[in-house]
């Protein structure tokens, strides 16, 4: 498993707060085990910074097994780093050659502002779900679970879409900072299941309208999101979202909502 240890040069974005301009600083990461994860490498650098009396680098993380979606920053220009279908916490240092220089910076998108260093505010993703990313069922209302069969193939495709961890890498990867992959994953997950059909039209219209209100860009088929998604969500979901949106806009009684759920992009940020 273990090989020779690595010595690396890190160029890391430092930004004290949302109002600070921010800048890159250069650090050394010495004697890093190739079996360490990328975040464990940052832990080691931070321990050294703290012992030297300097401010450690703030970064988000929690589960460290690739499922919570809390971690993620841009390494060498790519969200979650160079490996496909890999979150930053699952990226291992054996991936990098000894002596490499790595540039590490936060996600950059208007709707996802920097809070400090590599930590960003992804609250906009919660507002997108609030706009309609759910099935309206109250606790206690549900019919017997097997009373509504669901085709296995549809459920498998719903599960492919539902695997989204809400990390925001798709937004960071998109030249338009669009959240189309995120929104389409949720719309697809629920539209493919019989339980999600009754609200499918309303959901597609509201979530797309919310995305615009929050300041996300639109999709122009660059496919960067698909390449960087750590869970392999495909842009086939965006095609499905577009179909659901047109069906809803032209063939349903639902209207595109005029007022967004979120308090408006001008008031956002900070908290």
């Amino acid at each position: 498993m273990s090989g020779k240890s690595l010595n690396l040069t890190l160029k890391i974005w430092r930004q004290k707060g949302p109002e600070d301009k921010g800048h890159f600083e250069t650090y050394r990461a010495e004697n890093i085990s190739p079996d360490a994860s990328f975040l464990e490498m940052l832990d080691i650098v931070n321990e050294q910074l703290a012992e030297d009396g300097k401010d450690p680098i703030a970064f988000d993380h929690d589960c460290r097994e690739g499922i919570c979606g809390m971690c993620g920053c841009v390494v060498e220009g790519r969200p979650h780093g160079p490996d496909r279908e890999t979150t930053l916490c699952q990226l291992h240092m054996r991936r990098f050659p000894d002596g490499a220089t790595l540039t590490i910076e936060p996600y950059r998108a208007r709707a996802v502002p920097v809070i400090k260093d590599l930590v960003v505010d992804r609250g906009a993703l919660d507002f997108l779900i609030q706009a309609g990313g759910f099935v309206s069922v109250n606790t206690g209302q549900a019919p017997e679970a097997n009373s509504l069969p669901a085709g296995r193939d549809d459920v498998e495709r719903a599960m492919d879409a539902a695997a989204c961890i809400g990390c925001g890498a798709c937004v960071a990867a998109c030249p338009n900072a669009s959240a189309m992959l995120f929104v389409s994953a949720k719309v697809s997950h629920l539209a493919l299941l019989p339980q999600g059909r009754p609200e499918a039209a309303r959901r597609a219209l509201s979530m797309v309208a919310e995305m615009d209100a929050l300041g996300f860009g639109n999709c122009t088929n660059h496919r960067e999101c698909e390449v960087e998604c750590p869970k392999g969500i495909t842009i086939g979901n965006i095609a499905r979202l577009n179909r659901e949106f047109f069906k809803a806009a032209l063939g349903s009684y639902e209207q595109i909502p005029s007022t967004p759920v979120s308090p408006g992009k001008s008031k956002r940020g900070g908290e």
């Binding site: 703290a50 450690p56 589960c63 460290r64 699952q90 097997n146 599960m159 539902a162």
Partner: protein, 637 residues
């Protein structure tokens, strides 16, 4: 401290129905007059938030992360149990109840566990209605698989990501209520004090982790669903942020802490590989459905696994436990792995690992089928260990996973502090001394969706509430305590970071309070913990200030709590004069190494009451009364 479990009388099967009828109701129009704080947004907290908001209560939801969707329930892989009996293989509410009581080594309350089994089916109904993509048969109906500790297939699953799917739908239910204005979200907040007025829990003092601001929040009741304390061992399968903080604050304010020594060591985790390691990764127990666990028969056999012929392998779980085989419960499988390694049969570079081999299953079912069942787990293993588990057997070793102990609660899930409710892993109630696989998701959702919505109403309707806002003196006092504590932490200006103290604490806990405990080791652990705590308060280093996002300050507060709590865990382990479930004291075992319970003297919940700084905690017991099951030696042979 008075421990009244509030268990309703009468036959087991109708206790919950009768109790629901006896509980007072809050009129629908009056529900909007009550504010309820919920701390933690995993399956227990998230489901409670959604269900209470749907009823019309004003819910304030607090979590550490940037979004409720990140709670560590999301990492649960294998599945969720229910007594649907869809496979027609002999399951029933009674069997799920019995398996859970037996799996818990007869140290849980009959009434609570029976209720859990009863509502299990409602949970599946609700989850399906929410749009959880559970695995299906080709006919479109729900599929089941088997899991450790059960001989029926009652586990519902969504690939290896069941926890993720359950949590996301729970979160979506929360977001629906947030959009409706029934839930107010407070993400990136950490609980630093609990505020009591007239002995009732009436709110919290929290730190806003982004700005550093200390905030007070008032309510009519407080619900803690803050998870377990596994991170007291430093390395565990828990998320890195997992902590005992809110529960510990509650304990110090008068909530009893029950059975802290019942800690579950999960048998199938990726082995430890380096000192810099920050966490351990679980490989779902569901893998034991198809994987076979083995070690070389000869101690010290260092040949690569594929060069060890079949005749020289010891499939020890199948050998020792022929009727359950590789599906023996977690505590039993973990100790068996440790015994093998203690005998020198451990494998891998450290000798602290056993093989989990899929070659038979791949031969029988084909690689494609194994991929569809466990693809994401195999991929995760490959990434971490850099070996392909389709070609070479996985290496696994036990790791701290789940904690059965927690704050004591009565049948209504209320702690010894009126108005303070505790749900999910944070309470002690349903798993006894050991939790069976796929039962944590069931309990979290049972507590949140189907128990607390009834019991909290009973409390609110029966209590009187003085007018209390966040400017009440109780909050000023609590804020002063918080400020003083933060200033003390920042004022130490020593040389060691909180993370380094945490790592040292973990080594002590794993060595002396881990899988095999001894009285002398536990006493030694108490001494070492106290010494480490002393050094912590002398030599802690926290860079930065409390007026900003400061992850080192957050960590320091959590480690400070663990350094106190760890000692209580050791004290409880010393007081339990038996071995059972997640507590194994080597002085209490049969000749074959199995746990020896003492049902005459130890059939109780051990509850600890805080007695003040530097004082020994006060010991109480709640006797466990078994009217429906016969206590038996827990055999899986």
């Amino acid at each position: 401290m008075k421990l009244d479990s509030q268990i309703p009388g009468g036959p087991l099967e109708t206790k919950w129905d009768r109790h629901r009828f006896d509980l007072k109701l809050v009129n629908p129009a009056n529900k909007r007059k009550y504010d309820i704080i919920v701390v933690g947004t995993g399956l227990a907290g998230g489901s409670a938030c959604a269900a209470l908001a749907e009823l019309g209560y004003n819910v304030k939801a607090f979590c550490l992360q940037d979004s409720p969707r990140r709670a560590h329930s999301i990492a649960a892989q294998g599945g969720i149990n229910a007594a649907k009996n869809y496979p027609n293989d002999g399951d029933s509410i009674w069997r799920l109840f019995y398996d859970t009581i037996k799996g818990g080594d007869f140290r849980a309350r009959e009434a609570n566990v029976y209720r859990l089994a009863q509502v299990s089916n409602l949970i599946i109904d609700h989850c399906v209605a929410q749009g959880i993509p559970f695995a299906r048969e080709y006919g479109g109906l729900l599929a089941n698989r088997s899991f450790g500790g059960a001989q029926v297939a009652r586990t519902f699953y969504a690939r290896g990501q069941t926890g993720q799917q359950l949590l996301l739908c729970c979160y979506q239910g929360m977001m629906r209520q947030a959009a409706a204005g029934q839930i107010k979200m407070f993400p990136r907040r950490e609980v630093l004090e609990l505020a009591l007025v007239n002995g009732q829990a009436r709110g919290l003092v929290v730190r806003n982790l982004i700005t550093g601001a200390i905030e007070s929040h008032a309510a009519h009741a407080v619900v803690l669903a803050t998870g377990g304390y596994g991170n007291v061992f430093y390395l565990s399968t828990n998320g890195v942020g997992g902590n005992v903080g809110a529960a510990w604050r509650a304990y110090k304010k008068g909530a009893g802490f029950a059975n802290p020594c019942f800690t579950q060591i999960h048998p199938t985790c990726i082995p430890v590989h380096g000192a810099y390691q920050s966490k351990l990764t679980l490989m779902s127990e569901s893998l034991r459905n198809d994987g076979r666990v083995w070690v070389p028969k000869q101690p010290g056999d260092k040949r690569p696994p594929l060069e060890i012929p079949e005749s020289e392998r010891d499939y020890y779980l199948e050998r020792i436990y022929p009727s359950f085989g590789n599906l023996a419960p977690r505590d039993i499988s973990s100790r068996a792995a440790k015994r093998m390694c203690d005998e020198g049969k451990g494998v891998g570079p450290t000798g602290l690992a056993v093989y989990l081999d899929f070659s038979d299953a791949i031969g029988r079912l084909g690689r494609k089928e194994i991929e569809s069942r466990y693809g994401n787990l195999f991929q995760m293993y490959h990434k971490i260990v850099d070996q392909d588990p389709y070609e070479v057997p996985m290496m696994i070793y036990p790791a701290v996973h789940y904690t059965m102990g927690g704050l004591w609660v009565d049948y209504n899930l209320m702690s010894t502090i009126p108005g303070l409710f505790v749900l999910g892993e944070a309470n002690f109630s349903d798993h006894g001394a050991n939790r069976l696989g796929a039962s944590a998701l069931m309990q979290g959702l049972a507590d949140g969706y189907f128990v607390i919505p009834y019991t909290i109403g009973g409390y609110l309707a029966g209590a009187t509430f003085p007018e209390v806002s966040a400017s009440h003196a109780a909050f000023h006092e609590a804020e002063a305590v918080v400020q003083a504590r933060t200033a003390k932490l920042l004022g130490i200006r020593g040389k060691r970071t909180a993370a380094s103290f945490h790592r040292d604490l973990g080594l002590i806990m794993w060595e002396y309070v881990g899988m095999g405990r001894r009285d002398a080791g536990l006493e030694k652990a108490r001494r070492l913990i106290r010494e480490l705590r002393g050094e912590f308060w002398d030599n802690l280093l926290i860079p930065g200030t409390d007026k900003e996002l400061n992850q080192n300050l957050e960590r320091a507060g959590r480690v400070a709590d663990f350094l106190e709590f760890a000692e209580l865990l050791a004290i409880d382990a010393l007081a339990r004069r038996e071995s059972c479930g997640g507590h194994f004291n080597e002085a209490f075992q049969y000749e074959d190494g199995e746990s020896k319970r003492d049902d005459v003297n130890m059939c109780h919940v051990a509850v600890w009451e805080y007695a003040g700084e530097g004082q020994e905690p006060v010991f109480h017991t709640e006797p466990l009364v078994y009217e429906n099951v016969k206590l038996a030696v827990r055999s899986y042979k």
